[in-house]
């Protein structure tokens, strides 16, 4: 079942030309659930095998366990917990979660409804008089950024500064020495350094000063696991800033795009706002923001779908393909907000299951409900819209929408 049956399917997926619709290529990929690539890495694309691997303790998220280290993480001495294994991962995630959700901070997300709605309403108020709106620049980007800055305690005014760094980092995630220019890597490495330095600066001012934001809380924590080191806090803040930044924007944008492509569902949502809960789950399956987890490493030899993946191999988990696997989801290419038993892979699964899932869900639910309620006869200007470069964090870079009589 293994081998290099279609060595270039992955290459074609990574190629920018397939960004608008990679799904037919995923179907091609799924014919070989576990496919070895020429460079010795493995691509896993079927739901069953993905679910299996996401719960397999022999898989490592620490890129230092790769036989061929990933260039994009060079110079990172204190990885964020998304790139660590237990027990370190568990300890750091636990310490961060103390300030972010249950059981120690249970009401955080539920308590934010008012604030979230206020930000959303303010942004939509800004559409007044405009006939054409860019859902990304005018809405889906500023919204989660405002929220994550507020939560972390990062000044919103600094956004133009760290936006450049985050872009550089995200663009280098899928750096491939064979096809990408070296500058892409260097830009990414420099951006990582700059962002760390910036966050370190903010952290310095927080020591010994109580505050409600996450940086202050982490800097002054005295929980059962003790306190994170400054490097650990910076790595965690770095992770949250990027994750809270570059993913929700795509879910909201994909959501609006999908609704405009399915006007009957848009109308239903307008009539019945409660539909938004299963609708957002279906979006996470149908048009997820995170398409690929590119950085798992085989810590031991792993057998999956009768294939032995040797220790040290790089494993790419094609989450978005798994969520479209017909062996798991009936009629998978249909957008169906009434779908039951919707165990999508949009937030991953297992110990690295998205930390910000409850927040991202709520943000997107409020965003879509309000957009649909307040936009006047919205219409797509271009379909497909232009996409961002990244095949990993995939989404439109702009989404022009007309409204009103215009």
């Amino acid at each position: 079942m293994t081998t290099t049956q279609m060595p270039d399917t992955l290459r074609r997926i990574l190629d920018y030309s397939s960004r608008a619709d990679p799904y037919p290529l995923y179907a091609e990929l799924r014919r070989t659930p576990v496919a070895r690539q020429e460079d010795g890495s493995y691509v896993v694309s079927t739901y069953r095998e993905l679910a299996e691997l996401l719960h397999d303790p022999h898989l490592s998220s620490d890129v230092r366990n790769l036989a061929h280290p990933m260039r994009s993480h060079e110079g990172e001495t204190t990885p964020p917990f998304i790139n660590l294994d237990p027990p370190e991962h568990d300890r750091l995630r636990r310490m961060a979660m103390r300030h972010f959700g249950p059981p120690h901070t249970p009401g955080l997300v539920a308590g934010m409804d008012g604030d979230l709605t206020a930000v959303v309403s303010g942004l939509i108020d800004g559409f007044a008089g405009k006939e054409q709106i860019d859902i990304v620049d005018d809405f889906a980007y500023p919204f989660p950024v405002t929220v994550i800055c507020h939560l972390l305690g990062v000044p919103r005014e600094d956004e133009p500064k760290f936006h450049v760094w985050v872009d550089g980092i995200v663009n280098s995630i899928d750096y491939n020495p064979k096809i990408d220019p070296k500058e892409k890597l260097e830009k990414g490495l420099q951006a990582r350094k700059d962002l760390r330095q910036y966050l370190g600066g903010l952290l310095e001012q927080r020591h010994g000063r109580a505050g409600d934001d996450l940086l202050s809380r982490l800097a002054n924590d005295d929980g059962p696991d003790g306190r994170m080191t400054d490097e650990e806090i910076v790595a965690t803040a770095n992770l949250l800033l990027i994750a809270g930044h570059e993913t929700t924007v795509n879910l909201i944008t994909n959501g609006m795009l999908t609704l405009l492509r399915h006007p009957e569902v848009l109308q239903r949502l307008r009539d019945d706002p409660d539909l938004v809960v299963p609708l957002v789950e279906e979006l996470l399956r149908y048009e997820p923001p995170v398409h690929i987890i590119p950085w798992r490493a085989a810590y031991s030899d792993i057998t999956v779908a009768d294939t032995v993946i040797p220790r040290g191999s790089q494993i790419m988990l094609m989450l978005a393909s798994g969520s479209r696997d017909p062996d798991r989801f009936h009629d998978p290419d249909r957008f169906d907000p009434d779908r039951r038993d919707n165990q999508h892979l949009g937030f991953g699964s297992g110990i690295h299951l998205c930390f910000g899932g409850p927040l991202a869900r709520r943000e997107t639910q409020i965003a879509l409900t309000e957009l649909v309620r307040r936009l006047d006869r919205p219409r797509l200007v271009a379909d497909p819209p232009p996409y961002r470069r990244s095949p990993v964090l995939r989404g439109p870079i702009h989404l022009q929408v007309e409204q009103g009589t215009g």
Binding site: E52, P57, P86, Y299, S300, G350, I351
Partner: protein
């Protein structure tokens, strides 16, 4: 009429009776309606009030977090049933197709589901069990009484039996800062369910939380004062302890007594059935119209050599109820087998304990991930060289992997290292206490033989 016609007519206006109106009974009723059964549905239950959930009774209800009447089971659809509550069923007439109630009424059925579960094993001396301050915990009323007694600030609570329920109650006492003594006949807590090695971990955990844990001892007598209040307990080593509350947590008795003359294969271990949840009669023959689900059922599992296994697990009750309901309204060819791997969880002393598989079906156990001293680990159980179960302490996210190892009969011990490799990963004998002890405190009992060996007649004996 063809068979299909008969089935269609039954689905349209047949009569289904469910005996036992709790978790399994309610979920089966909901599933029957979801399957399109539109005939008459009768729920018979000896408890009054809405069906409710039991796991919180030894957890949130005892902390006072959730009121005892706040654990009603969520209703997932209208079941449009006739409810006959407050009177127990006292007999099943398989020839006449009626359920008899204790008040003399008779309820006719075309098909019946038995989901009468388990009751708490009472303290063996009736007069001592009746003392003020002596509790068992199985029902809402029990939990309410115990919660009130705990809220009154007792000087000491004695928990008799350190299985899951007893250990959870001891944990709540410590959380409420109430002095507690736990008495267990086995060498450690949870031993009957999880074996000696995990038992030791549980013992350390209890002591670290300030429990006065006494293992290898038997409580022989509960002593009351002139007003009938519990005052003291006596142990078989001659020692005594002063306590004003005692919780008897010695496991359950399956509610099969009412079926004594029914001709079903019902006994102390439960009611034997096939994987399709159809009851066996006393000769080991499958019945067509009598189905079983939940704690009272005893079902073969192919993964465990087709042994008949009784489980007192929430998830098992739900899954079995759904399979039973489906099969009650399906033709032979469309029936489902109940084949899932058992799953159990418990919360105590700040630890989230979860297991997959049947840990009692094992001869060896090994820690595979994490650190026992930090109480974050996974241990795998093996039987003759294959993985049969796993238990996690604060590490539940990995259990899906172990479920898959069990399903595929993966070799034991699992060899490949993980990043979170434990210091000591050598298998040790699992070491369960003898059957006499297991019968007292275990939540899982592995019994019986392969179906091909028709030796089930002895099932009829009824211990009381």
């Amino acid at each position: 009429m063809t068979r299909a016609d008969t089935l269609r007519a039954f689905k349209r206006d047949g009569r289904i009776v469910i005996v036992g109106a709790s978790l399994a009974g309610l979920r089966a009723a909901e599933a029957l309606r979801a399957e399109g059964f539109t005939g008459s549905l009768t729920m018979i239950g000896d408890e009054l009030g809405e069906p409710y959930d039991r796991p919180p009774l030894s957890k949130q209800v005892l902390t006072g977090w959730v009121p005892a009447d706040g654990t009603a089971l969520p209703r997932r659809r209208d079941i449009n049933a006739e409810w006959l509550l407050g009177v127990p069923a006292s007999g099943l007439d398989m020839a006449g197709n009626v359920v008899r109630l204790a008040d003399g009424r008779e309820v006719p059925f075309d098909r019946v589901l038995i989901a009468t579960g388990v009751r708490a094993r009472p303290w063996f001396v009736e007069s001592e069990a009746a003392l003020d301050g002596v509790f068992v915990v199985r029902t809402r009323e029990h939990a309410e009484g115990l919660q009130r007694a705990l809220a009154a600030g007792p000087s000491r609570v004695l928990v008799i039996g350190a299985g899951f329920t007893g250990s959870e109650i001891a944990s709540i006492c410590r959380e409420r800062d109430i002095p507690v003594t736990v008495a267990e006949l086995a060498p450690a807590p949870l031993v009957g369910a999880l074996g000696a090695m995990i038992g030791e971990v549980a013992a350390d955990m209890q002591r670290a939380h300030g429990v006065d844990l006494r293992c290898g001892v038997k409580v022989t007598r509960l002593e009351g004062d002139a007003q009938g209040h519990l005052r003291r307990a006596h142990f078989d080593d001659g020692s005594t302890i002063d306590a004003d509350v005692a919780v008897v947590a010695l496991g359950g008795i399956r509610n099969t007594d009412w079926l004594r003359d029914s001709g079903l294969a019902a006994g102390v271990w439960g009611i034997a059935c096939d994987t399709g949840c159809r009851a066996l009669d006393i000769n080991g023959l499958i019945t067509d119209d009598v189905f079983v689900a939940g704690d009272v059922a005893r079902c073969p599992n192919p993964i465990y050599e087709y042994r008949l296994i009784s489980l007192e697990h929430w998830a098992n009750a739900v899954e079995q109820a759904e399979v039973a309901a489906h099969n009650m309204v399906s033709a032979q060819a469309d029936r489902w087998p109940h084949l899932s791997i058992p799953l159990f969880w418990s919360i105590q002393f700040g630890a989230n304990i979860k297991s997959v598989g049947v840990p009692t079906f094992a001869d060896e156990v090994v820690v595979t991930q994490g650190s026992v001293s930090d109480r974050r680990f996974v241990a795998a159980y093996g039987y003759q060289g294959r993985v049969t179960a796993a238990v996690s302490f604060n590490n539940a996210k990995w259990l899906d992997h172990y479920r898959q190892l069990i399903e595929t009969a993966a070799p034991f011990p699992p060899l490949c290292p993980t990043p979170d490799q434990p210091v000591d990963s050598k298998p040790v004998p699992v070491d369960f206490p003898g059957p006499a002890l297991i019968a007292q405190g275990a939540t899982v009992v592995v019994t019986g033989n392969a179906p091909s060996e028709r030796r089930v007649t002895s099932l009829q004996q009824h211990h009381r």
